[in-house]
């Protein structure tokens, strides 16, 4: 049940996009961890640029999307820049469509 809920949260997070790259944060590899316990979701995520105003909206958007999942009563999002995000974290198919070299 918990695993299903984690997957439902992950799917919901696909509604959140990085405005610059234009892809959702799950496929971009921004979501480092999703844990659900007793209806409380804990999400650890990153972004490309610390300090950018978009980072704030990504965090807020993630929290809103996770909170809307049936069965989730609270969502807590932690933004981290460790480890730093790199394009190697992008889903391979999306990476190719964005024009990133595979070696990156």
């Amino acid at each position: 049940m918990t695993d299903q809920l984690v997957e439902r949260v992950r799917d919901a997070l696909r509604a959140v996009i990085d405005p610059e790259l234009g892809e959702n944060i799950v496929d971009l590899g921004f979501v480092y961890d999703i844990a659900v316990a007793g209806g409380a979701a804990r999400i650890t995520m990153t972004a490309t640029t610390p300090g950018c105003p978009a980072t704030f909206f990504l965090k807020e958007g993630t929290q809103a999307a996770a909170s809307a999942v049936p069965g989730i009563v609270s969502a807590d999002v932690t933004m981290t820049f460790e480890p730093p995000w790199t394009p190697s974290m992008i889903e391979p198919a999306v990476r190719a469509s964005l024009g990133f070299a595979a070696v990156n």
């Binding site: 610059e20 807020e60 070299a101």
Partner: protein, 445 residues
């Protein structure tokens, strides 16, 4: 909140800056000021200050109010100072220009407008410097150091300018008159080379890395670039004032400044080439492609300067040299980045609050690059053609180049207004539930 929010008045600064740019272009098309008048004539002073303060400085301040908090990942010291600063800068510039018109006999004698303008401008820039300086000081590393050096240069530029304004009104005594007689190059170098160029360099490091997903420039590397630039400006101010005090002429000081300035430009070129090489986004957006034309203009300005010095023609051709630096390098970069910044901020303002709740477009969906490209190309080609007309002494052809520049800028501004109005966003995601269309001239936050 992590870092920065949306600066409420950045769009207002951009709009005011563009209004001054249109005024300056109108003057150039009408043949007011250089090359139809001497470089130091009152008409040219009107033109130079409309561009240097009205267009470039106000646009730069607007960008910095948004960008310095991003550089240091801390909120702006005071958001409340931005609007009063814009009002003071605008009133000060109007007064200063009134004073220049009076100096040239185009207005009844009212030279007191010059010191009044200087006081208002010093007050306006003072608010900007304290606000941005206290913010950048929170984490004075990397690009923020360039901004701090730029702000220090702005202080020096404003101080020189204020002394000149008082001297022109006859209120500055013999020391002020001596500074006015010999110090104008110091004012121009501190303004264009220190304030505008060092700041543009610092901001470009971060913007380029951010939008191309490139690693930040190595701190030791960029420190050398800044060091050479800061030495050039320090030499300009301290060495220049000393030379004027000793009545020894400025040629030695300006030669040293030129060497450091060229070194800084060359090191900057190396740094920028490194950012482009290391970028992870291979495809360049329009603003990046157009920024490369601005970097090429900076390189061309440096080469032109060297060629003019070698052929002993620098003093006679200071006009085309400054024109290429101001319109090719600085204005080109500001226009290219303004095109991107407006789209990015408009996206954040409109779609940031509804993200995760509704489908949202990408930043690139707010712009139509294919349509905008031609306006940038027209602008740059016109600037380069204008530089040539000034070099060969064809002032009437220069007016045609100014008209072509105006066509390019009108096209770019039209695109920016369309971005702000979300005119190019497809209707299903244009205004999702809960999203509010942005105001043209300020952020609604």
């Amino acid at each position: 909140m992590i870092g920065a929010s949306i600066s409420r008045w950045t769009m207002s600064y951009f709009a005011m800056a563009l209004a001054w740019l249109f005024l300056a272009l109108s003057l150039m098309m009408a043949g007011v000021g250089y090359p139809f008048a001497e470089v130091a004539s009152p008409d040219t002073l009107v033109l130079v200050h409309a561009v240097g303060i009205g267009w470039l400085s106000i646009a730069m301040c607007g960008a910095l109010f948004q960008f310095v908090p991003v550089l240091v990942a801390k909120p702006l010291f005071s958001e409340k100072w931005a609007l009063p600063a814009l009002v003071l800068l605008t009133a000060g510039l109007v007064s200063l220009i009134g004073g220049f018109l009076s100096l040239g006999g185009r207005l009844p004698p009212s030279l007191w407008l010059l010191p009044l303008g200087a006081i208002l401008l010093v007050a306006g820039f003072g608010l900007v410097v304290v606000d941005l300086g206290l913010t950048a000081w929170l984490r004075p590393a990397g690009p923020a150091r360039f901004v701090l050096a730029g702000l220090a240069s702005l202080c020096a530029t404003a101080a020189f300018g204020a002394v000149f304004a008082f001297a022109l009104a006859g209120w500055a005594g013999s020391a002020g008159n001596a500074l006015l007689a010999a110090g104008i190059p110091l004012h121009a170098i501190a303004g264009l080379g220190g304030w505008l160029t060092l700041t543009a360099m610092g901001v470009s490091y971060r913007l380029l890395s951010m939008f191309m997903l490139s690693p930040d420039v190595d701190e030791r590397q960029s420190r050398m670039t800044l060091g050479a630039g800061a030495l050039a400006i320090g030499m300009t101010v301290a060495g220049g004032i000393l030379a004027i005090g000793l009545a020894s002429g400025l040629s030695v000081v300006l030669s040293i400044v030129a060497v450091f300035g060229l070194a800084s430009a060359a090191l900057y070129g190396r740094d920028i080439a490194g950012i482009f090489r290391a970028r992870k986004r291979r495809q360049l957006e329009l603003n990046m492609r157009m920024a490369t034309l601005s970097f090429a203009s900076l390189a061309a300005t440096a080469l032109l300067g060297i060629a003019l010095v070698v052929t002993d023609g620098f003093a006679a051709h200071i006009g085309p040299f400054a024109f290429l630096a101001v319109f090719g390098w600085l204005s080109g970069l500001v226009l290219a980045k303004l095109y991107k910044i407006v789209a990015f901020l408009t996206w954040l303002e409109t779609y940031g609050p509804v993200m995760g709740r509704a489908p949202t477009p990408r930043v690139q969906d707010l712009v139509a690059e294919g349509r905008a490209t031609k306006w940038f190309v027209i602008y740059y080609v016109a600037v380069w053609a204008g530089t040539l007309t000034l070099l060969v002494g064809e002032p009437y052809a220069f007016r045609m180049a100014a008209a072509a520049m105006t066509v390019g800028v009108v096209g770019i501004v039209r695109e920016v207004i369309r971005t702000r109005r979300l005119a190019d966003v497809a209707s299903p995601v244009r205004l999702p539930g809960g999203a509010i269309a942005p105001h043209l001239l300020f952020a609604r936050n």
